[in-house]
Protein backbone atom coordinates (compact mmCIF):
# COMPACT_ATOMS: atom_id res chain seq x y z
CA UNK A 1 0.00 0.00 0.00
CA UNK A 2 1.45 3.37 -0.84
CA UNK A 3 1.65 6.15 1.66
CA UNK A 4 -1.22 8.27 0.26
CA UNK A 5 -3.54 5.28 0.59
CA UNK A 6 -3.01 5.00 4.33
CA UNK A 7 -4.82 8.23 5.14
CA UNK A 8 -7.71 7.28 2.90
CA UNK A 9 -7.97 3.89 4.54
CA UNK A 10 -7.94 5.39 8.02
CA UNK A 11 -10.66 7.81 7.00
CA UNK A 12 -13.12 5.12 5.97
CA UNK A 13 -11.96 1.61 6.79
CA UNK A 14 -15.40 0.22 5.89
CA UNK A 15 -15.00 1.20 2.25
CA UNK A 16 -11.54 -0.30 2.16
CA UNK A 17 -12.93 -3.51 3.58
CA UNK A 18 -15.87 -3.64 1.16
CA UNK A 19 -13.64 -2.96 -1.78
CA UNK A 20 -11.42 -5.98 -1.33
CA UNK A 21 -13.99 -8.48 -0.20
CA UNK A 22 -16.36 -8.81 -3.10
CA UNK A 23 -18.10 -12.16 -2.93
CA UNK A 24 -20.00 -12.94 -6.09
CA UNK A 25 -23.21 -14.93 -5.97
CA UNK A 26 -22.76 -18.13 -7.94
CA UNK A 27 -25.98 -17.66 -9.88
CA UNK A 28 -26.02 -18.52 -13.58
CA UNK A 29 -28.82 -16.65 -15.30
CA UNK A 30 -27.82 -17.28 -18.89
CA UNK A 31 -25.10 -18.21 -21.30
CA UNK A 32 -22.70 -15.57 -19.94
CA UNK A 33 -21.78 -17.86 -17.10
CA UNK A 34 -19.41 -19.79 -19.37
CA UNK A 35 -16.95 -16.97 -18.70
CA UNK A 36 -17.11 -17.43 -14.95
CA UNK A 37 -15.21 -20.75 -14.51
CA UNK A 38 -12.02 -19.46 -16.21
CA UNK A 39 -12.33 -16.23 -14.24
CA UNK A 40 -12.46 -17.86 -10.82
CA UNK A 41 -9.94 -20.60 -11.56
CA UNK A 42 -6.20 -20.49 -12.14
CA UNK A 43 -6.26 -19.11 -15.69
CA UNK A 44 -7.40 -15.61 -14.67
CA UNK A 45 -7.74 -16.07 -10.92
CA UNK A 46 -10.29 -13.56 -9.68
CA UNK A 47 -9.00 -14.03 -6.14
CA UNK A 48 -6.17 -11.61 -7.00
CA UNK A 49 -8.89 -8.95 -7.04
CA UNK A 50 -10.60 -10.21 -3.92
CA UNK A 51 -13.51 -11.68 -5.88
CA UNK A 52 -14.64 -15.16 -4.97
CA UNK A 53 -17.85 -17.00 -5.81
CA UNK A 54 -20.22 -17.78 -2.99
CA UNK A 55 -22.91 -20.40 -3.13
CA UNK A 56 -25.44 -18.57 -0.96
CA UNK A 57 -26.76 -15.04 -1.45
CA UNK A 58 -26.77 -14.30 2.28
CA UNK A 59 -22.96 -14.33 2.38
CA UNK A 60 -22.38 -12.47 -0.89
CA UNK A 61 -22.37 -8.86 -1.97
CA UNK A 62 -21.64 -8.89 -5.70
CA UNK A 63 -24.29 -10.04 -8.14
CA UNK A 64 -23.17 -10.67 -11.71
CA UNK A 65 -26.21 -10.99 -13.98
CA UNK A 66 -24.58 -13.23 -16.55
CA UNK A 67 -26.56 -13.22 -19.76
CA UNK A 68 -30.18 -12.97 -20.80
CA UNK A 69 -32.83 -12.84 -18.10
CA UNK A 70 -36.03 -14.73 -18.80
CA UNK A 71 -39.17 -13.79 -16.93
CA UNK A 72 -38.95 -16.88 -14.74
CA UNK A 73 -35.30 -16.15 -13.92
CA UNK A 74 -36.12 -12.57 -13.04
CA UNK A 75 -38.27 -13.81 -10.18
CA UNK A 76 -35.35 -15.87 -8.84
CA UNK A 77 -32.98 -12.91 -9.32
CA UNK A 78 -35.23 -10.60 -7.33
CA UNK A 79 -35.58 -13.15 -4.54
CA UNK A 80 -31.81 -13.63 -4.48
CA UNK A 81 -31.11 -9.91 -4.50
CA UNK A 82 -33.53 -9.32 -1.64
CA UNK A 83 -31.67 -11.89 0.45
CA UNK A 84 -28.25 -10.32 0.02
CA UNK A 85 -26.98 -8.14 2.85
CA UNK A 86 -26.12 -4.48 2.31
CA UNK A 87 -23.92 -3.15 0.79
CA UNK A 88 -24.54 -5.10 -2.41
CA UNK A 89 -23.54 -4.41 -5.98
CA UNK A 90 -25.17 -5.55 -9.21
CA UNK A 91 -23.22 -5.76 -12.45
CA UNK A 92 -24.97 -6.56 -15.72
CA UNK A 93 -22.74 -8.85 -17.73
CA UNK A 94 -23.17 -8.95 -21.51
CA UNK A 95 -25.51 -7.23 -23.93
CA UNK A 96 -28.70 -8.99 -22.94
CA UNK A 97 -29.28 -7.40 -19.51
CA UNK A 98 -28.46 -3.99 -21.01
CA UNK A 99 -31.14 -3.84 -23.71
CA UNK A 100 -32.17 -7.37 -24.54
CA UNK A 101 -29.28 -8.01 -26.91
CA UNK A 102 -30.20 -10.59 -29.51
CA UNK A 103 -33.41 -11.25 -27.58
CA UNK A 104 -34.65 -7.72 -28.15
CA UNK A 105 -38.02 -8.92 -29.50
CA UNK A 106 -38.36 -12.11 -27.48
CA UNK A 107 -41.65 -12.55 -25.65
CA UNK A 108 -40.10 -14.16 -22.57
CA UNK A 109 -36.93 -12.15 -21.90
CA UNK A 110 -36.77 -8.85 -20.07
CA UNK A 111 -35.10 -6.01 -21.95
CA UNK A 112 -33.86 -3.50 -19.38
CA UNK A 113 -32.57 -4.96 -16.15
CA UNK A 114 -32.36 -1.56 -14.47
CA UNK A 115 -36.15 -1.28 -14.51
CA UNK A 116 -36.34 -4.16 -12.03
CA UNK A 117 -33.13 -3.89 -10.01
CA UNK A 118 -30.67 -1.06 -9.39
CA UNK A 119 -27.55 -1.77 -11.44
CA UNK A 120 -24.17 -0.35 -10.48
CA UNK A 121 -22.31 -1.19 -13.66
CA UNK A 122 -22.56 -2.76 -17.06
CA UNK A 123 -20.15 -4.86 -19.06
CA UNK A 124 -21.06 -4.63 -22.74
CA UNK A 125 -20.26 -7.33 -25.24
CA UNK A 126 -21.45 -10.73 -26.36
CA UNK A 127 -19.56 -12.39 -24.73
CA UNK A 128 -17.33 -10.03 -22.78
CA UNK A 129 -13.83 -11.40 -22.26
CA UNK A 130 -12.85 -12.48 -18.72
CA UNK A 131 -10.57 -9.45 -18.58
CA UNK A 132 -13.69 -7.28 -18.85
CA UNK A 133 -14.82 -8.62 -15.49
CA UNK A 134 -11.60 -7.35 -13.92
CA UNK A 135 -12.03 -3.96 -15.59
CA UNK A 136 -15.52 -3.88 -14.11
CA UNK A 137 -14.20 -4.85 -10.68
CA UNK A 138 -11.62 -2.05 -10.77
CA UNK A 139 -14.34 0.39 -11.84
CA UNK A 140 -16.45 -0.85 -8.96
CA UNK A 141 -13.55 -0.19 -6.55
CA UNK A 142 -13.34 3.37 -7.79
CA UNK A 143 -17.09 3.78 -7.44
CA UNK A 144 -16.99 2.43 -3.88
CA UNK A 145 -14.14 4.85 -3.11
CA UNK A 146 -16.14 7.78 -4.43
CA UNK A 147 -19.29 6.56 -2.70
CA UNK A 148 -21.37 6.29 -5.88
CA UNK A 149 -21.93 2.53 -5.92
CA UNK A 150 -25.17 3.05 -4.03
CA UNK A 151 -27.57 0.80 -5.91
CA UNK A 152 -28.84 -0.80 -2.71
CA UNK A 153 -29.80 2.60 -1.34
CA UNK A 154 -31.53 3.55 -4.58
CA UNK A 155 -33.46 0.28 -4.34
CA UNK A 156 -34.68 1.23 -0.91
CA UNK A 157 -35.46 4.84 -1.81
CA UNK A 158 -37.27 4.01 -5.06
CA UNK A 159 -38.75 0.73 -3.99
CA UNK A 160 -42.21 1.73 -5.25
CA UNK A 161 -40.84 2.19 -8.77
CA UNK A 162 -38.98 -1.11 -8.80
CA UNK A 163 -41.85 -2.94 -7.20
CA UNK A 164 -44.37 -1.62 -9.75
CA UNK A 165 -42.17 -2.78 -12.61
CA UNK A 166 -41.51 -6.15 -10.99
CA UNK A 167 -45.17 -6.82 -10.26
CA UNK A 168 -46.20 -5.75 -13.76
CA UNK A 169 -44.67 -8.91 -15.19
CA UNK A 170 -44.47 -11.08 -12.05
CA UNK A 171 -47.75 -10.40 -10.22
CA UNK A 172 -47.31 -13.36 -7.85
CA UNK A 173 -43.94 -12.24 -6.43
CA UNK A 174 -43.80 -12.00 -2.63
CA UNK A 175 -43.34 -8.54 -1.17
CA UNK A 176 -39.87 -7.87 0.18
CA UNK A 177 -40.08 -7.43 3.95
CA UNK A 178 -36.87 -5.41 4.18
CA UNK A 179 -38.23 -2.54 2.10
CA UNK A 180 -39.50 -0.64 5.13
CA UNK A 181 -36.32 -1.19 7.17
CA UNK A 182 -34.19 1.66 8.45
CA UNK A 183 -32.27 3.60 5.78
CA UNK A 184 -28.59 2.96 4.92
CA UNK A 185 -26.45 1.98 7.87
CA UNK A 186 -23.14 2.79 6.23
CA UNK A 187 -22.05 5.75 4.18
Amino acid sequence: MDRAEILKTLKSPAKWGQKYSLWAVYFCTGCGVVEIPPVITSRWDAERFGVLPMATPRQANLFLITGYVSVKTLGAIIRTYDQMPNPKYVVGFGSCPVNGGMYWDSYNTIKHLDKYLPVDGWIAGCMPRPEAIFVAVVHLWQMIDKGIATGYERYKDNYEYYQTNQRAILPHLAKFAGAEAAPGRNS
Binding site: W104, S106, N108
Partner: protein
Protein backbone atom coordinates in the same frame (compact mmCIF):
# COMPACT_ATOMS: atom_id res chain seq x y z
CA UNK B 1 -38.21 -54.66 -42.72
CA UNK B 2 -37.45 -52.38 -45.65
CA UNK B 3 -39.02 -48.97 -46.21
CA UNK B 4 -41.29 -50.21 -48.98
CA UNK B 5 -42.57 -53.12 -46.91
CA UNK B 6 -43.30 -50.74 -44.08
CA UNK B 7 -45.10 -48.34 -46.41
CA UNK B 8 -47.37 -51.15 -47.63
CA UNK B 9 -47.98 -52.42 -44.11
CA UNK B 10 -48.94 -49.00 -42.80
CA UNK B 11 -51.23 -48.19 -45.72
CA UNK B 12 -52.91 -51.54 -45.24
CA UNK B 13 -53.07 -51.42 -41.45
CA UNK B 14 -54.09 -47.81 -40.70
CA UNK B 15 -57.20 -46.27 -42.20
CA UNK B 16 -56.74 -43.39 -44.66
CA UNK B 17 -52.97 -43.34 -44.19
CA UNK B 18 -50.75 -42.19 -47.04
CA UNK B 19 -47.05 -43.03 -46.85
CA UNK B 20 -44.17 -41.92 -49.04
CA UNK B 21 -40.57 -43.04 -48.88
CA UNK B 22 -38.60 -39.81 -48.85
CA UNK B 23 -35.19 -41.43 -49.02
CA UNK B 24 -33.42 -44.44 -47.61
CA UNK B 25 -34.35 -44.79 -43.97
CA UNK B 26 -36.98 -42.06 -43.94
CA UNK B 27 -40.71 -42.45 -44.32
CA UNK B 28 -43.40 -39.76 -44.22
CA UNK B 29 -46.84 -40.94 -43.15
CA UNK B 30 -49.86 -38.65 -43.36
CA UNK B 31 -52.97 -39.59 -41.42
CA UNK B 32 -56.21 -37.80 -40.49
CA UNK B 33 -56.27 -36.65 -36.89
CA UNK B 34 -58.75 -39.35 -35.82
CA UNK B 35 -56.27 -42.05 -36.89
CA UNK B 36 -53.15 -40.52 -35.33
CA UNK B 37 -53.15 -42.57 -32.14
CA UNK B 38 -54.04 -45.83 -33.88
CA UNK B 39 -51.15 -45.16 -36.28
CA UNK B 40 -48.84 -44.63 -33.29
CA UNK B 41 -50.00 -47.90 -31.75
CA UNK B 42 -49.47 -49.75 -35.03
CA UNK B 43 -46.00 -48.28 -35.46
CA UNK B 44 -45.01 -49.03 -31.92
CA UNK B 45 -46.07 -52.65 -32.40
CA UNK B 46 -43.72 -52.77 -35.40
CA UNK B 47 -40.69 -51.78 -33.33
CA UNK B 48 -40.88 -47.99 -33.49
CA UNK B 49 -40.34 -47.61 -29.79
CA UNK B 50 -38.49 -44.28 -29.73
CA UNK B 51 -40.65 -41.15 -30.00
CA UNK B 52 -37.93 -38.52 -30.41
CA UNK B 53 -40.14 -35.46 -30.56
CA UNK B 54 -43.53 -34.04 -31.34
CA UNK B 55 -43.39 -30.81 -33.28
CA UNK B 56 -46.09 -28.39 -34.29
CA UNK B 57 -46.26 -26.11 -37.31
CA UNK B 58 -48.68 -23.24 -37.73
CA UNK B 59 -50.03 -23.11 -41.29
CA UNK B 60 -51.76 -19.79 -40.89
CA UNK B 61 -52.87 -19.39 -44.53
CA UNK B 62 -54.49 -22.82 -44.57
CA UNK B 63 -56.01 -22.39 -41.13
CA UNK B 64 -54.39 -25.54 -39.80
CA UNK B 65 -51.87 -26.82 -37.30
CA UNK B 66 -49.64 -29.70 -38.31
CA UNK B 67 -48.38 -32.11 -35.67
CA UNK B 68 -45.37 -34.25 -36.56
CA UNK B 69 -44.50 -37.30 -34.47
CA UNK B 70 -40.90 -38.37 -35.03
CA UNK B 71 -40.44 -42.10 -34.48
CA UNK B 72 -37.33 -44.22 -34.74
CA UNK B 73 -36.87 -47.94 -34.94
CA UNK B 74 -33.65 -49.30 -33.50
CA UNK B 75 -33.98 -52.64 -35.25
CA UNK B 76 -34.87 -51.35 -38.75
CA UNK B 77 -32.99 -48.03 -38.57
CA UNK B 78 -35.94 -46.17 -40.08
CA UNK B 79 -37.15 -42.70 -39.15
CA UNK B 80 -40.91 -42.24 -39.52
CA UNK B 81 -42.47 -38.81 -39.56
CA UNK B 82 -46.13 -39.21 -38.74
CA UNK B 83 -47.96 -36.07 -39.83
CA UNK B 84 -51.47 -35.04 -39.01
CA UNK B 85 -53.38 -31.79 -39.39
CA UNK B 86 -55.87 -30.11 -37.07
CA UNK B 87 -58.10 -27.11 -37.67
CA UNK B 88 -56.69 -23.88 -36.25
CA UNK B 89 -60.02 -23.00 -34.64
CA UNK B 90 -60.40 -24.98 -31.40
CA UNK B 91 -57.57 -27.46 -32.12
CA UNK B 92 -58.06 -30.78 -30.34
CA UNK B 93 -56.49 -34.20 -30.63
CA UNK B 94 -56.35 -37.34 -28.50
CA UNK B 95 -53.22 -37.61 -26.38
CA UNK B 96 -50.42 -40.01 -27.24
CA UNK B 97 -49.35 -40.40 -23.62
CA UNK B 98 -50.86 -43.90 -23.04
CA UNK B 99 -48.74 -45.16 -25.97
CA UNK B 100 -45.60 -43.18 -25.18
CA UNK B 101 -45.67 -41.89 -21.57
CA UNK B 102 -43.03 -39.22 -22.21
CA UNK B 103 -45.24 -37.66 -24.89
CA UNK B 104 -46.93 -35.90 -22.00
CA UNK B 105 -44.15 -33.33 -21.77
CA UNK B 106 -44.07 -32.63 -25.51
CA UNK B 107 -47.82 -32.20 -25.51
CA UNK B 108 -47.60 -29.91 -22.53
CA UNK B 109 -45.18 -27.67 -24.40
CA UNK B 110 -47.28 -27.65 -27.59
CA UNK B 111 -50.35 -26.83 -25.53
CA UNK B 112 -48.51 -23.91 -23.97
CA UNK B 113 -46.92 -22.59 -27.15
CA UNK B 114 -49.74 -23.21 -29.67
CA UNK B 115 -52.86 -23.74 -27.60
CA UNK B 116 -53.54 -27.25 -28.93
CA UNK B 117 -55.67 -29.25 -26.51
CA UNK B 118 -54.67 -32.86 -25.99
CA UNK B 119 -57.71 -34.77 -24.75
CA UNK B 120 -56.78 -37.19 -21.99
CA UNK B 121 -53.45 -35.60 -21.09
CA UNK B 122 -53.70 -35.21 -17.31
CA UNK B 123 -51.10 -32.42 -17.00
CA UNK B 124 -51.63 -29.58 -19.43
CA UNK B 125 -50.17 -27.04 -17.01
CA UNK B 126 -47.67 -24.30 -17.99
CA UNK B 127 -44.17 -25.65 -18.57
CA UNK B 128 -41.73 -22.91 -19.57
CA UNK B 129 -43.62 -19.64 -19.30
CA UNK B 130 -44.24 -17.97 -15.96
CA UNK B 131 -47.74 -16.63 -15.36
CA UNK B 132 -48.32 -16.06 -19.05
CA UNK B 133 -51.26 -13.78 -19.77
CA UNK B 134 -51.24 -13.36 -23.55
CA UNK B 135 -52.19 -15.69 -26.41
CA UNK B 136 -49.98 -18.74 -27.14
CA UNK B 137 -46.72 -17.12 -28.22
CA UNK B 138 -45.58 -19.43 -31.02
CA UNK B 139 -48.71 -18.88 -33.11
CA UNK B 140 -47.88 -16.89 -36.18
CA UNK B 141 -50.59 -14.30 -35.63
CA UNK B 142 -49.08 -13.44 -32.24
CA UNK B 143 -47.41 -10.03 -32.62
CA UNK B 144 -44.17 -10.48 -30.67
CA UNK B 145 -42.91 -6.92 -31.09
CA UNK B 146 -46.20 -5.40 -29.98
CA UNK B 147 -46.26 -7.72 -26.96
CA UNK B 148 -42.67 -6.79 -26.07
CA UNK B 149 -43.51 -3.10 -26.44
CA UNK B 150 -46.54 -3.45 -24.16
CA UNK B 151 -44.92 -5.70 -21.55
CA UNK B 152 -41.27 -4.73 -21.30
CA UNK B 153 -41.28 -1.17 -22.57
CA UNK B 154 -39.26 0.34 -25.34
CA UNK B 155 -37.73 -1.66 -28.12
CA UNK B 156 -35.22 -0.05 -30.46
CA UNK B 157 -36.52 0.97 -33.92
CA UNK B 158 -35.63 -1.56 -36.59
CA UNK B 159 -34.95 -0.87 -40.24
CA UNK B 160 -35.95 -3.82 -42.38
Amino acid sequence: MSEDDLKKAIERGVEAAAATVQKKGRLVVTVPKTAAVSALIALRARGFEHLSAISCTDWLEEGQFELVYHLWSYSDKIHVMLKTRLPRENPQIVTASPVFPHAQTYEREIHEMYGVRFEGNPRLTPLLLDHWQGPPPMRRDFDTRQYVQDTFGSTPPVGE
